[in-house]
Symmetry: C2
Subunit: 330 residues, 2 copies
Amino acid sequence: MTAGAIDVLGIGNAIVDVIARADEGFLAEQGLVKGAMALIDSDRADRLYRVMGPGIESSGGSAGNTMAGIASLGGNGAYVGKVRDDGLGEVFRHDMRAAGVQFDTPAAAQGPATARCLILVTPDGQRTMNTYLGASVELGPEDIDDDLVRAAQITYLEGYLFDPPRAKRAFRKAAAVAHAAGRKVALSLSDAFCVERHRDDFLDLVSEVDILFANEAEICSLYRTGDFHAAVAAVRGKVAVAALTRSAHGSVVLSGSEEYSVAAAPVSQVVDSTGAGDLYAGGFLFGLTRGLSLPICGEIGSRAAAEIIGHFGARPEVELKALVTGLGLG
Amino acid sequence: MTAGAIDVLGIGNAIVDVIARADEGFLAEQGLVKGAMALIDSDRADRLYRVMGPGIESSGGSAGNTMAGIASLGGNGAYVGKVRDDGLGEVFRHDMRAAGVQFDTPAAAQGPATARCLILVTPDGQRTMNTYLGASVELGPEDIDDDLVRAAQITYLEGYLFDPPRAKRAFRKAAAVAHAAGRKVALSLSDAFCVERHRDDFLDLVSEVDILFANEAEICSLYRTGDFHAAVAAVRGKVAVAALTRSAHGSVVLSGSEEYSVAAAPVSQVVDSTGAGDLYAGGFLFGLTRGLSLPICGEIGSRAAAEIIGHFGARPEVELKALVTGLGLG
């Protein structure tokens, strides 16, 4: 199925999050790097699950969260990702469609189970992620519907797609089809360790995409620097638009010689930062599809991120549309 | 396995909650009675799930929530309930054990899937529940370990157990074993419609149990009256201790000729009332096992309920122990 006009098509690893509280001691005991995303195998996932606290399950996946955010803002979105035809796969598909996002990628009928991310949230609201990629490794170029890509103003790709080998080919195909149709391509660098794993690929990609999202750790990792300003200088001019997020310090948006600082939106209580970057990207992309100025795109991103930080889970709990009234969206 | 000394053994339908926001219009469209628990079959569960909004999954079940609350207060608890050996069953077992509750009832190896409750939360924080009993109908008297019942100061039974026919026999067996061992039995009336379905049984049970929990609608339904004070008069003297909850109006605790009014604990934002009654019972029972006075038991119940109302899901998000300091728990 191909919709007429799509604002954003998101492509990513389709993952269900299992979210539990944990203290710093537990992270240390388990040898986990706080704030990072680690890839784990099925055995390790079972072992970690056994020792972690009571959880809640919520659909996740970086680009999946972004698309749920765009739909919640009133945007017309579609998603491509691979689940297994199992219980969690059904949950993921339900949540995506119920959010109003078109999602028709067929589920895998065999192979590993639907991907899970075991997320440990420390008292400071930081999240540490442990991903079992499961069925998402089955995503391949055959899952990319060229017409769907051509119908989308922007195709948004998460850097995590470089972890499963066939998904990387799906990524490259989607980007090529989008550009051939005169459409825009956006990329998120996803995670500093993901950048470590794929730095050379990502350095090339930055020059190929139109819109880049990264947080401070990711952009610093990309350019092997500990200094954010050096990273800003390095990326300037390499991509049409770069939106660089800095947690409580807001974001910096670069375009040619322009540079905008966008404040973080107020958060009454930092509960769980999972999905903050994804929702920032969702708000920013939504603003772009509505032709808004870059600082306003950043402001929409900040407000969407603030909503997500205030509760467990990486999908909006309220209609984000209501949080962006008065920002020129009419 | 039987632990040495158990504060409370909870027996109930083992259910995973799927929680989504909905407006009043959706409830009307779907013919749902706001605030109630309706039993639905597998087809209806599939149909309702397809049209409801994005959800989060969280272990639930009335007695399951109560036991998680008791463990969170520092109590030593055990649980009996039936899941299937499927994904949601694994989630339920994990969450119970990770909360610190002993849970060894074998999973069903065949038959229906683990029970699910589709919970729709309206903007006023009220929850409307639709339960597919699934594997919980497989619970039977063979699942009651007599030694476990004898080891528990209090055996807590949810009224919902009267819905699956074999569970009712498990209920009666557990109550008989507890009383034969000189232990106490507590009952929750669960839901006004559940009371309608089993009124004669429940009228008999009230005289047989030692501790009764009911909310205003349930106790009024039991005695076929619209007047809470008439219901209080009717139940007075029939049970050693009755704790009757009235949402924001707190609770009334009766014992012989004694009557105590307990205020509701403050809630900064009513997000989702799911589990409020279950957690009140948990706090109250925990207080009883610690030999505290009835008004203090009610106060612990109120504080545990208030924590649950402030977020989605019916399991505590913080350690409840921290919320009851200074109440004579040393």
